[in-house]
């Protein structure tokens, strides 16, 4: 069924109906297959074609078409698995696509979130696992209809930053509880933290009070840091120096790493007392 059929031929075909019907179905199937393949090719760079065809040639044994297909299938499945390491992966669904956003902080792999998109005009989010305090609607309003890539990259930024801040706060609570003199106060978005701490837990000094505000929701370091010390000798230079240096440290390094350096200094002090 290569050419366009003339009306006379159509009449003849109608008379041969059942067989013609089958042939027509087969032709339609093939045409639809060609169209899909072309869309896939057009939508992706030439390199994807090569990747799809990438099969290790088995020189020793001649492979049947079935085996070639199976090997291709295995390769494609493996590569699809690997996409989660780019931070964005997904699966096609009957409605559209379900995108999975993976988050990480300094090499630590953290929570994943998904966004299930429905392909309709307009494009819409069917459901998702994004926390309520992430401005998903705002980001969707800006980008979803015009640029899916930008929408997802932007959402990635917010989620990765939130994950990172949460990770730092969790590590502070779990690993450095000994240095905290009170509970860590935090909001769900983990962009406002308030805590009190001492460098020498057993000592006589007053604790420091720290308040960290992360105004930029796409960042994992605070924008505003206030450290206060309300001991009686608060005005002495050594306390003032410490207080000021702590403020700088919190701005420059992740929270749990600042406390790790406090803990190390504490160990050094102990050693000097012993000797």
């Amino acid at each position: 069924m290569a050419g366009i059929l003339a009306p006379g031929l159509t009449r003849t075909l109608r008379s041969l109906s059942p067989l013609a019907g089958q042939l027509l179905e087969k032709a339609l199937g093939n045409l639809r297959w060609s169209r899909r393949t072309l869309y896939v090719q057009m939508a992706s760079p030439k390199e994807v074609k090569a990747s799809i065809a990438n099969v290790e040639p088995n020189l020793a044994v001649e492979m049947s078409e079935q085996e070639v297909l199976e090997e291709k299938l295995e390769n494609v499945k493996a590569v699809l698995q690997a996409y989660r390491f780019t931070g964005l992966s997904g699966k096609l669904t009957s409605r559209g696509v379900c995108v999975c956003i993976n988050t990480a902080f300094e090499g630590n792999l953290l929570d994943s979130y998904f966004v299930d998109l429905v392909i309709q005009k307009p494009l819409r989010i069917h459901h998702h696992s994004v926390p309520v305090f992430i401005p998903l609607e705002e980001i969707a309003a800006k980008y979803l209809q015009t640029n899916i890539q930008h929408f997802l990259f932007s959402l990635c930024e917010y989620l990765n930053a939130y994950s990172g801040r949460k990770y730092q706060a969790d590590r502070l609570q779990s690993d450095f509880a000994a240095l905290l003199t009170g509970p860590l106060q935090r909001n769900p978005l983990c962009n406002l933290l308030s805590f009190t701490y001492k460098l020498d837990p057993g000592g006589q000094s007053f604790p420091f009070c720290a308040r960290l505000l992360y105004k930029d929701l796409t960042a994992t370091l605070p924008t505003d840091v206030t450290v206060t010390y309300q001991g009686v000798d608060a005005l002495s230079t050594s306390w003032e120096e410490q207080r000021a240096s702590h403020e700088t440290l919190f701005c420059m390094k992740p929270l749990h790493q600042v406390f790790a350096s406090f803990a190390r200094k504490g160990e050094k002090l102990d050693m000097s007392l012993v000797s």
Partner: protein, 262 residues
């Protein structure tokens, strides 16, 4: 019968148009609309074939569509991936219900003309409270190796063991590299005497020297790196316009304005 024949004709026309479209490679700034288009198209065909058989060919077709979508979305084309797992749980750990597994991953692929090969290790530790997963080693090999701008963020990613940052930065770097290349190429073609590119269109900087109006000292050159803040005012706005990447905007720049007045 008639409806099906009509569909045959429609499909044939569509296929002919698609074949023509496949000939021309898209420019980087067209990629975003390409993501939208491919998204719609791939979904359309998958919903068609959704109820169809589970045979190998249609399975492969479905997964290939998925791969194509992810490749377009992330800008990254992964070609090969393999993984090995090693259980490091000792007998002591099993008693305390701690499990330690080391995964070794290897993947390779490309992002337009840049190819990469990654080898990294992930250590998974499962104890009673939680499962922690961390990248413990990351090695990245890039090609082309001469591009110093590329190696900057590659070493940062390796240091921080930040896989996601590497892929995101690679995608943006390549996109903007292409923009810059096309911009420089356009200027070179339009003003061949005034524009000098030390390393061809892939140069990191562009030198603009007027042949007819030399600078205050004889033979003095005005070298402009790809940073608009270093250009004199009229040139800066022209440069900003050209960096938007739209060919019609680039065409409106004039070389005479790029040379500062004496």
């Amino acid at each position: 019968m008639d409806a099906e024949l009509a569909e045959v004709r429609a499909l044939q026309a569509e296929i002919a148009a698609l074949r023509r479209a496949c000939e021309d490679p898209p420019a980087p700034w067209e990629e975003t609309s390409r993501v939208q288009k491919s998204f719609q198209a791939i979904h359309q065909f998958n919903s068609e074939g959704w109820k169809s058989s589970k045979d190998l060919k249609s399975q492969l077709g479905h997964l290939e569509s998925e791969l194509s979508f992810l490749s377009t979305l992330t800008g990254i084309n992964i070609r090969n991936y393999s993984k090995q797992t090693e259980d490091l749980t000792g007998t002591e750990m099993t008693e305390k219900s701690i499990r330690k597994v080391l995964q070794r991953h290897r993947l390779s692929g490309n992002c337009h003309m840049v190819t990469f090969q990654l080898e990294f290790q992930i250590l998974e530790i499962q104890n009673k409270e939680r499962l922690s997963s961390a990248v413990t080693d990351l090695n990245i090999i890039m090609e082309p190796t001469e591009c110093s701008e590329l190696s900057e963020f590659v070493s940062r990613a390796e240091e921080r063991k930040d896989l996601f940052m590497f892929f995101r930065s690679l995608h943006f770097f390549v996109e903007w590299f292409e923009y810059r290349k096309r911009t420089f190429k356009h200027f070179k073609e339009k003003y061949p005497d005034a524009v000098h590119l030390s390393e061809g269109p892939s140069s990191p900087s562009i030198v603009i020297r007027s042949a007819s109006q030399p600078g205050p000292g004889a033979g003095q050159e005005q070298s402009h790196r790809n940073r608009s803040s270093q250009l004199p005012n009229p040139a800066r706005s022209a440069w900003n316009r050209s960096c938007s990447g739209k060919p019609d905007k680039i065409a409106s720049c004039r070389a005479e304005r790029l040379v500062p007045k004496q």
